[in-house]
């Protein structure tokens, strides 16, 4: 053991280093967690009244469930919006 490094200094040194490491680790974990964002997407589902046709597209402002959006390409019945829901996208890191 070097003459100016006794056991108490050593303990103090180890404790200080581990404290600094702990603080650094903590802030690193927090920063990593806040950087992860999720990009969700709103889907509008359109179906024919007679249930022989359906499609999905992105939500547009003004859409609501029960809105008539056109004629069915198969049977000339009304096409209705039957559902609007959000699907969670893939987690992105940015």
């Amino acid at each position: 053991m070097p003459p100016n490094l006794d056991i108490f200094t050593l303990i103090l040194l180890i404790m200080t280093i581990s404290l600094i490491l702990y603080t650094l680790l903590l802030s690193f974990i927090q920063r990593k967690a806040s950087r992860e964002t999720v990009k969700p997407k709103i889907i509008t589902k359109i179906s024919c009244m007679r249930d022989d046709y359906s499609e999905e597209r992105d939500f547009k402002k003004g859409d609501y469930v029960g809105l008539v959006v056109g004629k069915c390409p198969k049977c000339e019945g009304n096409l209705l919006i039957t559902a609007i829901y959000l699907i969670r996208g893939v987690k992105e890191k940015g």
Binding site: D6, F8, P40, I42, M49, F59, K61, G62, D63, Y64, V65, G66, L67, L80, T82, A83, I84, Y85, L86, I87, R88
Partner: protein, 367 residues
């Protein structure tokens, strides 16, 4: 090791331990240090709350601007700081529900006339969505005020327990405020939210049947046949954001049918416990409706008056999911609940009898 020998070091350690234990046990110094740490933590979080509040105001002002309003900032500020409701006297419980219902309705009417006065010519849908958006801004402002009140009180009175509680609750509160802030977009866009599960289920049940007016902002559907059972359905009037007056509507409809109703089935979104999965469907007894009293008691009273069994079907979701755009999981839950409701009707209602299905919740985005 030439200045101190081993026994001196032990004396030193014992003295230090003694002094430390004195500080820990007989002074407030540790609590002061904690107070300081918690206070700085809460202060940081309060800055975040402030940011959210001003962001919500800014988005709201922009939205009002896009609707062609000249003085959006004044309208928002005026709404946010007014329209409180003083709860009726409750040490005299006679007719407390009627007094509460009266006050709620007066507030409701006041808000609507305020919107009509500031922004004439809005469509009903825009008006309803805007009222909910304004209410969201008001809630966030009030929460922020209350948080700051406790923070300042805690600091002034050196109440470290108060600050500690505040610091421990802060992440949860912040999560809820964030959920409300995000919910604003759903009402700007007019997408169905998780709470719209009940109204959406009714929409699926009645299909293209024409809605008829029954109470303010509330409609009913008549004459859908399901395996020879006559199904009546009630929901708030869409696609604007409103919860309607469900209780009043049920009461009126049952009276209209002369009490000839075999069952009343209420369907609502319910808050899930942390361990439960979103979209889980559960069934029980009672009126599944989460208002502060008047609407729920109307349903219970009319059910008791005519001895009609009350069934409840709930779709589980978190608070965040309930007020934000409906997720796929909740949507799947609605389909499951629809099967359950149909099942209840065919198994517990005899052929030729009538049943009322009530879709409770905010009908935003659902006609």
């Amino acid at each position: 090791m030439n200045m101190l020998d081993v026994s001196d070091i032990w004396t030193l350690i014992i003295v230090i331990i003694f002094i430390l234990s004195f500080i820990l046990n007989f002074t407030d110094i540790p609590q002061r240090i904690q107070l300081w740490r918690f206070a700085s933590y809460v202060r940081r979080k309060l800055i975040q709350v402030d940011d959210i509040e001003s962001d919500v105001r800014r988005r709201l002002v922009n939205y009002l601007g896009s609707l062609g309003i000249k003085t959006p900032r004044e309208i928002v500020d005026n709404f946010v700081n007014n329209y409180f409701l003083i709860e009726p006297v409750n040490i005299e419980p006679t007719d407390i529900i009627r007094r509460l219902a009266h006050l709620i309705r007066v507030r409701d009417t006041n808000i609507k006339s305020y919107i009509d006065y500031c922004m004439p010519g809005l469509t009903k849908v825009d008006k309803h969505n805007l009222i909910v958006a304004l209410e969201i801004a008001a809630v966030i402002t009030i929460v922020n005020k209350v948080l700051k009140h406790y923070f300042k009180t805690g600091l002034e009175s050196n109440n470290w327990v108060l600050l500690m509680q505040l610091a421990l609750e802060m992440p949860r509160i912040l999560k809820i405020i964030n959920a409300y802030s995000k919910a604003l977009d759903a009402f700007f866009l007019g997408t169905p939210i998780g709470d719209a599960a009940g109204p959406l289920l009714v929409k699926y049940l009645v299909g293209g049947t024409e809605p008829k007016y029954i109470a303010e902002d509330t409609v009913y559907f008549d004459g859908v046949m399901l395996n020879n059972r006559r199904v009546y359905a009630i929901k708030a009037e869409g696609p604007g954001a409103t919860v309607g007056r469900i209780g009043e509507a049920v009461e009126k409809l049952v009276e209209k049918l002369g009490g000839n109703v075999a069952r009343i089935i209420t369907v609502d979104a319910a808050l899930k416990l942390e361990s439960e999965v979103t979209g889980e469907v559960a069934e029980g007894v009672g009126a599944a409706i989460g208002d502060i009293g008047p609407e729920k008691i109307s349903i219970e009273r009319v059910a008791v008056k005519y001895g009609i069994p009350l069934d409840a079907v709930v779709i589980k979701m978190s608070q965040e999911e309930a007020i934000n755009t409906m997720t796929k999981e909740v949507y799947d839950g609605v389909l499951k609940a629809l099967d359950k409701v149909k099942n209840i009707i065919t198994s517990r209602v005899r052929e030729g009898e009538s049943v009322i299905v009530v879709g409770v919740g905010n009908t935003v985005g659902v006609l």
